[in-house]
Every structure is written in structure tokens, then in C-alpha cells.
């Protein structure tokens, strides 16, 4: 327990090291394009998330050269970042990952942590969050020691959109997602 000014005890237990973790910006190497690559989708269970991810997956295979959507899983606990076994499974079964949709307090933060975990394991990842959760996403990026981590932002809310609106949203974001996953610039 660190003692501080005036003998007042610190209630955080964090200590200076954890408060100011050095940035570790491990990004996976980007492929030049998605041509022939396998796409993994990780659904965080929030309403419309899986529909959105599948719509993006369709666009990547039909219009951006991806070979297939090769793995789709639903998180058991949307609040908790992916563990080693999930990361390993994705690394085995796909070449790039798309995850989200961060549309709630804890799942948005966890999605950012997921993206950072995939990148550190060498998998390019695109994390999708609604714009209402940028601050909590940034707070989690700092907790994970990757304060500058970037994700794909979309307009809030997502959960109340109709199926057609979700598909339209996927089309709007797909080029930015491709840009995030490859060396191509976002259009």
C-alpha cells in the first residue's frame, strides 16, 4: 500500500505503474488487401450486432475479395474481454477479425480490449463502437496500455434500427472497415 501526502492512504491499489502503463501499440501486420483472406466475426450479443457483422461479412466476400466468413462466435459474456483460447481459435481459423457492436457501457469497453488482444496476437481487427461510447472505449484502451488504439465509429443508436437500416449501416462503414484491416487507406 503506497503512502501518500500527509499520511493519507491511497484507496485505489493501483500505484503509479498501473496508472501510467507505458503504451504498447502492437498492431498486427496489415495485408495489402482482403483478397483470398478468411474473415472472422465476433458478436458481442447486443441487439443488431450479429446482423450488422454478417452484413459486413457478406460485403467483404462479395465486393472486397475476401474468400469466406470462416468463423462466427457469440461472446459468452459481453462485459469481459476475450481470453486466450478465443484469440487462439480466431488466429487458427481466420486472417482478420471484425467485432462489436459496442452499444452499451461494459460491452463497448470490452470490445476495445478485444481488438487490442487480437492485434497483439497478430490478427488485424476492426472494432465497431457507436459514437456514444467513445470515452469509455478510450478509458479501456488506456487500461489495456494502448491509449491510442483506433476503432470504427458509427452513429448511436444501433439497437433500434430495422434490418434494412442495419444493412445500410454496414454498407456505409464497409470501406472504413477494409481500411482498418488492410494497408489500404479508408475511402
Amino acid at each position: 500500500m503506497s503512502h501518500t501526502l500527509h499520511g493519507i492512504l491511497d484507496p485505489t491499489g493501483a500505484g503509479p505503474a498501473q496508472e501510467q502503463a507505458p503504451p504498447v501499440a502492437d498492431r498486427a501486420r496489415r495485408p495489402p488487401s482482403l483478397t483470398g483472406l478468411r474473415v472472422g466475426l465476433l458478436d458481442n450479443t447486443k441487439h443488431n450486432a450479429l446482423l450488422f457483422l454478417r452484413a459486413v461479412g457478406d460485403l467483404l466476400t462479395t465486393e472486397h475479395g475476401a474468400q469466406e466468413v470462416s468463423i462466427v462466435e457469440t461472446k459468452q459474456n459481453f462485459s469481459v474481454p476475450v481470453d486466450r483460447s478465443i484469440v487462439d481459435r480466431y488466429r487458427e481459423h481466420c486472417d482478420v477479425v471484425i467485432t462489436g457492436v459496442g452499444d452499451c457501457g461494459s460491452c463497448s469497453a470490452a470490445a476495445v480490449a478485444d481488438g487490442i488482444a487480437f492485434e497483439r496476437a497478430g490478427l488485424p481487427a476492426a472494432v465497431v463502437l457507436t459514437d456514444a461510447f467513445d470515452i469509455t472505449g478510450r478509458a479501456m484502451a488506456q487500461v489495456q496500455g494502448d491509449a491510442d488504439y483506433e476503432w470504427v465509429e458509427t452513429e448511436h443508436p444501433m439497437a433500434v434500427l430495422t434490418e434494412d437500416e442495419v444493412r445500410a449501416r454496414a454498407r456505409t462503414l464497409v470501406s472504413e472497415i477494409v481500411g482498418r484491416l488492410t494497408m489500404a487507406e479508408a475511402a
Binding site: 500500500m1 499520511g7 493519507i8 484507496p11 485505489t12 459474456n77 469481459v80 457501457g105 461494459s106
Partner: protein, 368 residues
């Protein structure tokens, strides 16, 4: 009644103010002033709790932060608890960690849920935890500070702060102060924790979305009274998934009316499970008529419009507690954030430390 016990002589008020401002500057405060936690003060909490300082009593996976007995004690001291409250704080914290809702994203949720802590046993009176008039309201140090200790621990030890990792859309008033003792003296039933298998000093807890009053000074018919609760429990706005969780904290007048009519605590829970809800047509009007086993409700076609959809799933998960004054028929529906385990946790601490009203801990407790 505490005045004069803490050796007020010789206190430099300017220094006290500086210490309070220092704690604000560190970002430790929930908005109200904090008591500066010194080694000597925290050691008295640790002695009262009777647990090793470095014992880990909480870990939040997503932020990889840990709560130890020491950190809980520091935050309890800062919250304004007296050392002898610490066994109740420890039990409340342990009870919360057993609730599913706190192991996931509950503390970060847009719901901004509040811990409900209900205390049973002689320790209520020994510590002066309010169980009667204004039991949900302010004015009583243990009620106000035990819950605050939980809140400060979440903020400081887990690092979950509003506008950062804590994402409450609106939150709720009194989030960290919903601590009530049961009014065992005027309850017609055994203490709640005893009914659940833990007699004596114990706490039960869960996370709440809100508390909603039911004012019924209008009927002596038990079914009419229960129907008034069922109406509040069944309201559609509180519904997200197939079922929603809720309980009742009855005032003595309502509890006694029901007991006189032959209702046990279990009978009350069962009646509320059977009668709280809405028809499919009513739910269709708000876009919530379709429910699958998992996942949020969604708009459907309103098939079978008169079908009754029950709000509550299981009478064993309906809290029925008694608290408040006997001066009116005013009770509270307590609306769960997720669910309730139905598991009381005993309050354990060095007996001498737990029962003393004096702020100094006996020598044997310090070394026991």
C-alpha cells in the same frame, strides 16, 4: 450521539479542510467530502473485520483490478464508516460478489444500478442501522456510509468512474445509500435472512434499477393490496428481457395486513409472480410483446392479444422484506438490475469489535 467520543480537542480545522481537498484532487471522491484514511484509522477497521489485510475479496476481470480487505477498509474509512461497521461492509461486499450481476459489466452499465443491502440481526441495533421511519432516506450514519463504502471501492479499487468506464445514462438518486435494516420488531414474519437459512446477523443484497413507492391506505383486502404492487411490478417500462426481477420492501402496516389474512412471505411472493404482468396487447402497444428465452424483447404482431405475460419468473427470487415506520401504508417495490441469488451472507467479525459503540477497539480485538 457520537459527539465527543473522537477526541475533537486539538483538531486543526484548516488542516482537516486541506486533507479533504487533497482527496478531491486525487479523484477519489464521489462528490462529497471524504474522511482522510490514515494507517491508524484503517488498522482499527482491519481489527474489527478480523480478516487479513491482503486477503483478495474481489477481482474484476475486464480491468484486471483487485479488491483486498485493506482497500475495502480504506474506502470504508473514507466513506465515513465507523470501524465497527466494517464487518457489515465486508459481508455486503462478499454478498455482492456472489451476485451474478456484479461479476459482469454491472458496475459499468448504462443502467447505473445501485446495491440494495438489507441487514438482519442484533447488529442492526448495536450499530444503529435505521430500520424504521425514513429507512430509505437520509439521516443515519451506518445506512449512509456502508453503501457509500461499496461505491467508493468500485470507483477507486476497480477504477470505474462516471463518464469513463462507468456509463450510467441517468443513474439513480441515492445509488450508494440504499442500505436498510429489516424492521424485525414489527414484522409478522421471521427475519428475511433467517427464512433463507442464516439466522442472526446477516445481509442480503442485489443490484437495483430503482425503488418505486406503492401508497395504499385504501383497502383492507389483501388481494386488492397485492394487486396494487402487481400493477407497479408489471409496468412495461421496466421490462427488457422475457422476465424482469423485482421484490418488495413492505411497511409494517402492509406486512401485518397480509399476515393477518394468512399470507406467509412465500405466499406473498407466489401471488406477485402469478399476478404481475401485462397482456400481449398491452406490451405490443410499447413494442415489447415478443420475448424469446434469451435476448431483449422486440416488437411483434401482437398474436394472442389477451395472453397474460408474467413479469416475474420465480417466487424464490422475489425479495419480501419489512422495513419502515408503522405510521402509513407506504411500501417500496425494489426493481432488480438483473436477478437476485437468494443467498444471505452472515456478518462475521470479532464479537467485541462488532458490538462496541466506542470508537476504540479493545486490545484483544487488535491482536485477535
Amino acid at each position: 450521539m457520537d459527539a465527543g467520543q473522537n477526541g475533537h480537542q486539538g483538531v486543526d480545522a484548516t488542516m482537516a479542510q486541506a486533507a479533504i481537498e487533497y482527496a478531491y484532487d486525487q479523484g477519489w471522491s464521489d462528490g462529497l467530502p471524504l474522511v482522510p484514511a490514515t494507517r491508524e484509522l484503517v488498522d482499527r477497521f482491519l481489527a474489527a473485520g478480523g480478516r487479513p489485510a491482503d486477503e483478495v475479496i474481489g477481482h474484476l476481470q475486464q480491468v484486471d483490478r483487485t479488491v483486498t480487505v485493506e482497500l475495502l477498509a480504506i474506502n470504508a474509512a473514507m466513506a465515513g464508516c465507523r470501524p465497527e461497521y466494517f464487518p457489515v461492509v465486508l459481508a455486503a461486499w462478499r454478498a455482492l460478489t456472489k451476485e451474478r450481476a456484479t461479476s459482469g459489466g454491472g458496475w459499468q452499465s448504462t443502467s447505473g444500478p445501485a446495491p440494495l443491502v438489507i441487514v438482519n440481526g442484533a447488529i442492526r441495533k448495536e450499530l444503529g442501522i435505521n430500520h424504521s421511519g425514513g429507512v430509505f432516506g437520509p439521516g443515519f450514519r451506518p445506512n449512509a456510509t456502508i453503501g457509500r463504502a461499496i461505491g467508493l471501492t468500485v470507483r477507486n479499487a476497480y477504477g470505474i468512474r462516471p463518464h469513463e468506464l462507468e456509463q450510467a445514462t441517468q443513474g439513480l438518486p441515492g445509488r450508494w445509500s440504499i442500505v436498510v435494516a429489516e424492521n424485525e420488531e414489527e414484522s409478522p414474519w421471521p427475519p428475511l435472512a433467517e427464512d433463507l437459512g442464516v439466522p442472526g446477523n446477516a445481509v442480503i443484497t442485489t443490484l437495483l434499477r430503482t425503488c418505486e413507492f406503492v401508497d395504499n391506505r385504501h383497502t383492507s383486502d389483501p388481494e386488492q393490496l397485492l394487486a396494487d404492487f402487481a400493477d407497479s411490478i408489471g409496468r412495461s417500462g421496466a421490462w427488457i428481457f422475457k422476465h424482469a426481477g423485482a421484490g418488495v420492501v413492505l411497511c409494517p402496516e402492509h406486512a401485518q395486513l397480509l399476515a393477518r389474512a394468512g399470507y406467509s412471505r412465500r405466499d406473498v411472493a407466489r401471488w406477485l409472480v402469478e399476478h404481475s404482468g401485462r397482456t400481449t396487447a398491452q406490451l405490443q402497444a410499447v413494442g415489447k410483446d415478443n420475448a424469446e428465452q434469451n435476448g431483449v424483447r422486440f416488437p411483434g404482431q401482437g398474436e394472442d392479444p389477451e395472453r397474460f405475460q408474467p413479469t416475474l419468473a420465480d417466487p424464490d427470487k422475489v425479495i419480501v422484506a419489512v422495513a419502515g415506520s408503522r405510521n402509513a401504508g407506504i411500501s417500496m417495490v425494489v426493481r432488480y438490475f438483473a436477478d437476485w441469488s437468494g443467498t444471505p451472507v452472515p456478518v462475521i467479525g470479532p464479537e467485541a469489535a462488532a458490538i462496541t459503540h466506542d470508537s476504540s477497539i479493545p486490545e484483544e480485538a487488535l491482536h485477535g
